[in-house]
């Protein structure tokens, strides 16, 4: 047996790691302008305090509730329209992506190099679509097409189109190719084998993910309202700018209910699909 060690061998690397972490903390705190005392600054407290006090009771005037109702409909419409367009964009892109994979797994392919190149192009486009946050797209579209929900719909269409493509491609690539290979060997061309063999049993998973994304789109639609894309978000932005705490309180409550309902509906539909 070796001579007993009376020092902790892992102590040194640990101390080193700890020192590194501490050295990084300091510039991080400075860059983020971390001043917890600002929370307790007198004038800030007054503004915030007044604002929060207005939360009770929430604004329940009929006229305002009417506006909220319209805003909720607008938000839901934005999310639905956006996801629909996202689907329209995602379908051809997914096909483009999976061309060289799923389909080549079904049977021999020619033009492999071309389809590989095409795949990389699609991937690049998708990175741009997904990499730029939807609210940035929304802001840009507001500049082109003006204020209103259209900007939000397009923003969702692009970002979520990219997300749907990525996940659809993954679902399809991990699908069981047995049925499609059988069709191919029996004489149908590769595309048909893909459509009738692979698609049917992955359809449920695809649909399920789409509904899940719809739910996220509802929340995103609200957020985009803050840059002028309409819906509940725009209403909240306006109320906040006027420092009307009671209106904000109502909108927040309605928002939470909306998210809860969307969650539930999405869960219901996905259960039905299964």
């Amino acid at each position: 047996m070796t001579r007993p060690v009376l020092r902790d061998p892992q102590a040194l690397p640990r101390i080193f790691f700890l020192l590194c972490a501490i050295t990084l903390m300091w510039p991080m705190l400075i860059l983020a302008q971390f001043q917890p005392m600002a929370l307790f600054d007198a004038s800030n407290r007054e503004v915030m305090g007044n604002f929060l006090q207005q939360f009770f009771p929430p604004q329940l005037q009929t006229e305002f509730l009417h506006r909220i109702f319209k805003a909720v409909l607008e938000t839901l419409a934005m999310a639905t329209a956006g996801i629909t367009l996202a689907l329209v964009i995602a379908m051809p892109l997914t096909l483009g992506m999976t061309q060289s994979l799923s389909i080549s797994r079904i049977g021999p392919a020619n033009g492999y190099a071309m389809s590989q190149a095409g795949r990389y192009v699609v991937r690049l486009v998708m990175v741009v679509m997904r990499g730029i946050p939807e609210i940035v797209w929304a802001l840009l579209f507001v500049r082109v097409f003006g204020l209103g929900p259209m900007a939000g719909v397009l923003a969702i269409a692009i970002t979520y189109g990219g997300m749907l493509t990525k996940v659809y491609a993954e679902i399809l690539e991990s699908g069981n190719t047995q049925a499609s290979r059988a069709l191919f060997l029996a004489g149908s061309n590769r595309l048909h084998a893909f459509l009738y063999g692979l698609l049917p049993h992955t359809a449920q998973e695809l649909a399920s993910y789409t509904i899940y994304r719809w739910e996220a789109a509802v929340r995103a639609s609200v957020v985009m309202g803050f840059v002028g894309a309409g819906g509940l978000g725009q209403l909240m932005d306006q109320s906040m700018k006027m420092l009307d705490g009671s209106e904000v309180s109502t909108i927040l409550l309605v928002f939470l209910m909306l998210v809860f309902v969307a969650d539930y509906v999405s869960w219901l539909i996905r259960k039905q699909l299964a």
Binding site: P27, M28, L29, L31, A32, Q33, F34, Q35, A38, L39, D41, N44, V47, M48, F51, L73, E74, L76, A77, M78, T80, A81, T84, L85, Y120, R123, L124, M126, V127, V128, G131, I132, P133, I135, V136, L139, L140, R143, V144, F145, P149, M150, V153, L154, K166, R219, V222, V223, F226, V227, M236, D237, M240, L243, L252, F255, L256, V259, Q272, A274
Partner: protein, 264 residues
């Protein structure tokens, strides 16, 4: 799975499909939005014109420096917020997992759900009100939302973790907190760190846009430049945002799956 034989006509499915199509078309109508109008030459021309204004991007060293600083600010916001949220989340995970009784559990879970549901941007507008413009508001906003997310995830991890190691220490006279440190924490730390890193990745993306409401970082510069119609500057910021996202994606993929897949 459909238990009916394949041949039978699925009225149920057709009915659902009709309702769904109705809702979809209804949405477009409600918004007075005809997507086919986008495909007209006029629309495309409009978009193309606008896009053209973004090139060439402004790459003057002066502006690049500004953007670099904003990027670091963004990363700092996300890192700090995630770190503090991890600590708060851990503390709240204990009652959320039922360690202090079922009333505490219900209250904590409700509170965490609230924090999770409110979007970061909404918190950001509130925080700007509370502490003024700048990255501190962004940090607080991210912190609040992330505490909700991590608190819930940590709570679930804790709840699913067996208490045998903890109990054994209690039986040897350890106090509750020490039994937690020595008995429970070592078992859950890997999972907690995994969740935290995953959340940090998402927070970096979030931190880039909180600036839209004045909470610092790249978003604040982007919003500012777009408002002044400085598209070439905005273009630079957007490219840097993209770059940041790609880098984070790449690093997280490498950490998880080893150096393999590049883009996407």
């Amino acid at each position: 799975m459909n238990t009916q034989p394949a041949r039978q006509f699925c009225f149920h499915c057709v009915f659902n499909l009709i309702i769904l199509s109705g809702l979809v078309i209804g949405s477009f109508i409600y918004l007075s939005f005809n997507p086919f109008k986008l495909l007209t030459g006029e629309s495309i021309h409009l978009v193309a014109q606008y896009v053209a204004r973004f090139f060439p991007p402004d790459v003057s060293s002066h502006f690049l420096l500004k953007v670099m600083k904003a990027s670091l600010e963004t990363i700092a916001i996300s890192a700090l917020a995630t770190l503090i949220a991890m600590v708060f989340g851990l503390f709240l995970a204990l009652p959320a997992a039922g360690w202090f009784g079922s009333l505490a559990k219900k209250i904590t879970r409700f509170f965490l759900n609230f924090l999770r549901s409110v979007p970061e941007l909404v918190f950001a507008t509130l925080m700007v009100l509370a502490v003024g413009l700048g990255p501190f508001a962004g940090t607080l906003a991210l912190l609040l939302h992330t505490t909700g997310v991590l608190g819930r995830l940590f709570g679930e991890t804790l709840e699913n973790h067996p208490i045998t190691t903890n109990r054994a220490l209690i039986l040897s006279g350890a106090s509750g907190p020490l039994a937690f440190l020595y008995g429970t924490l070592p078992g859950i730390v890997p999972q907690l760190i995994s969740y935290t890193l995953y959340r940090w990745e998402m927070n970096i993306r979030m931190a880039t846009i909180l600036g839209f409401v004045g909470a610092g970082g790249l978003g604040q510069i982007l919003y500012y430049e777009l408002s002044l119609l400085h598209e070439s500057q905005a273009s630079t910021v957007i490219m840097v945002m993209l770059l940041l996202v790609i880098m984070v994606d790449f690093m997280s993929n490498t950490l998880r799956h080893g150096p393999a897949r590049p883009l996407g």
